[in-house]
Symmetry: C2
Subunit: 318 residues, 2 copies
């Protein structure tokens, strides 16, 4: 055994690491049984429990020299919490599978789970269990659970011709940040930080459900790619209009420096975890949604400023 | 795109792979919304939902040249389903995080998820969602959910002095099989198969809860190591008596060939996912539990045939 902050996972050992990770656990009214037994036990809303899983792999999703362990924990939690929000739901709890090499500093693992908890605290959810295993690189598998909106989950399949398409949150920031890091730059910091961890508009999810959203999706692959998922699930076409878009100042500067059209970042960049939703034309858009297009009848596709846009967005194994 | 059975993950692509995996999905009465949206939605028992997570990593937990993809899928599902059974619960659903190299044959990935489903079918549970990502090696992260027994979850902490300690299922088989494989042997097949995937006594979990089990645990680290978890959580000592144990014939043969005491496999070998439970002395042990010891007052420890036994069992990062 080593001092509180020192030592590798090999020196600290699996069970002492789990003890340190779970020592910090808070509970909420949803948690009937937290870490320490073979399973956790969660109370459910009358509508059931939403559940979603995301895996982040070192070297694929993040690099330890580009992000802090807190950043990586926050990002891992955000990926799943944003999925719950995209159903109009309220996240309640999370389990984490944590894989890491034996020579990883235990302090890194503890900071990473502290990052998970920071993100969970933003939505009032808690860590209720998990698994710790050896792996050749850091792997974080997070499964988030949550309560659906009283009106039921908002699916991808409910968009109707005539609906307004609206966006809450940032798009293109994480992609711009990743491109900067890939070229060896660490600024503008606001963009680089956006790659390190997203800032999903969690509250916008339940607000959209309450405002009558007909469809919603977490923008994780890219705005056009995820709009296409809604179009395909709903059997409609989606028209986006970029003419009114403000290009954020740091993105303008970076795009100019690299001779890149910032619209490409905003249309195809993933990992920002904005929420894209459709609303009846009569609905009042809840904050911070802004209208960016409309739903029309037709073959499922996404048109940007009148032109069908194919491809784009992130897909694994390419 | 490639033919139905051919191609690597790179050739098939993330979204087509997900489509093929989820095409086979059955549903059960618990599943209000299955794969295809940002989250699944599960109906809950009045007592809430049990949730547990296990991660299996290629090269750490399994090798692709020692196990078939179906074996690995079965084993991954079993690890979490057995945790639900160990709470006295009934598994209902599972989400899977699947990481793999881009050059993995898509047929391997599909066979692995078929293995998950085979195991799920044993308990009437279904696959409701997941995530597919690129990773340097195959990683399976499974999160199982289930319904607690009507009498509530059976914890590790309820063992009382005077209770009978009972075991359902096999111990030592997977460890023996792993040792055989590590030395280059592939027989006795029944032991090697036990490493490839366990045969947890799922039904014994709810049966134990109904029979009044005071504590229960999934034997995944090793019989003594997991008995120690119960002893520590309950603040009691556990005495095991091996004098009446039958050593299974294939284990006798393998142990003799390698000059190993088969009791070491049975006491310290993990990954068989037996269930270890404690019952009031007055309880009638449900099938297939057999008494193997008793709970006594005293400092938390495990004594085997009268001698305290420390260490043993599997721990990561060693």
């Amino acid at each position: 055994m080593t001092s509180e902050s020192g030592g590798t996972l090999r020196e600290v050992g699996e069970f002492a690491l789990i003890e340190r990770i779970t020592a910090a656990d808070g509970l909420n009214e949803t948690v009937l049984l937290g870490p320490g037994d073979d399973t956790a036990l969660i109370r459910c809303a009358p509508g059931g429990v939403l559940v979603t899983c995301d895996v982040l792999v070192e070297g694929v999703h993040f690099r330890r020299d580009w992000s802090t362990p807190v950043d990586i924990g926050r990002r891992a939690a955000a990926a799943s919490l944003a999925d719950v929000a995209a159903m109009g739901g309220q996240p309640t709890s999370l389990v984490v599978g944590f894989g890491a090499p034996a020579d990883l500093p235990a302090a890194w693992a503890l900071a990473c789970t502290a990052g998970l908890r920071e993100e969970l605290a933003l939505v009032g959810a808690v860590l209720v269990g998990g698994d710790v295993v050896e792996a050749p690189q850091v792997v974080l598998s997070v499964t988030a659970m949550g309560s659906p909106a009283p009106s039921g989950p908002v699916l991808r399949s409910g968009a109707q011709p005539g609906d307004v398409v609206a966006l809450a949150g940032r798009v293109g920031w994480a992609a711009a940040g990743l491109q900067l890091l890939s070229r060896g730059f660490r600024s503008p910091k606001v963009l680089v930080d956006a790659h390190r961890y997203p800032v999903p508009p969690y509250g916008a999810g339940p607000a959209a459900a309450e405002a009558g959203a007909t469809a919603m999706i977490d923008v994780s692959d890219g705005l056009v790619a995820d709009a296409r998922h809604v179009a395909e699930a709903s059997g409609v076409a989606i028209e986006l209009d970029t003419s009114g878009w403000d290009i954020p100042e740091p993105m303008q500067a970076a795009a100019a420096a690299y001779n890149i059209d910032p619209h490409d970042w905003m249309l195809d960049g993933g990992d920002d975890h904005a929420l894209l939703a459709t609303f009846p034309a009569s609905a009042r858009l809840p904050e911070p949604f802004v209208a960016i297009g409309r739903v029309v009848a037709g073959d499922p596709e996404v048109r940007v400023d009148g032109t069908a846009r194919s491809g784009g967005g992130h897909a694994h194994f390419r």
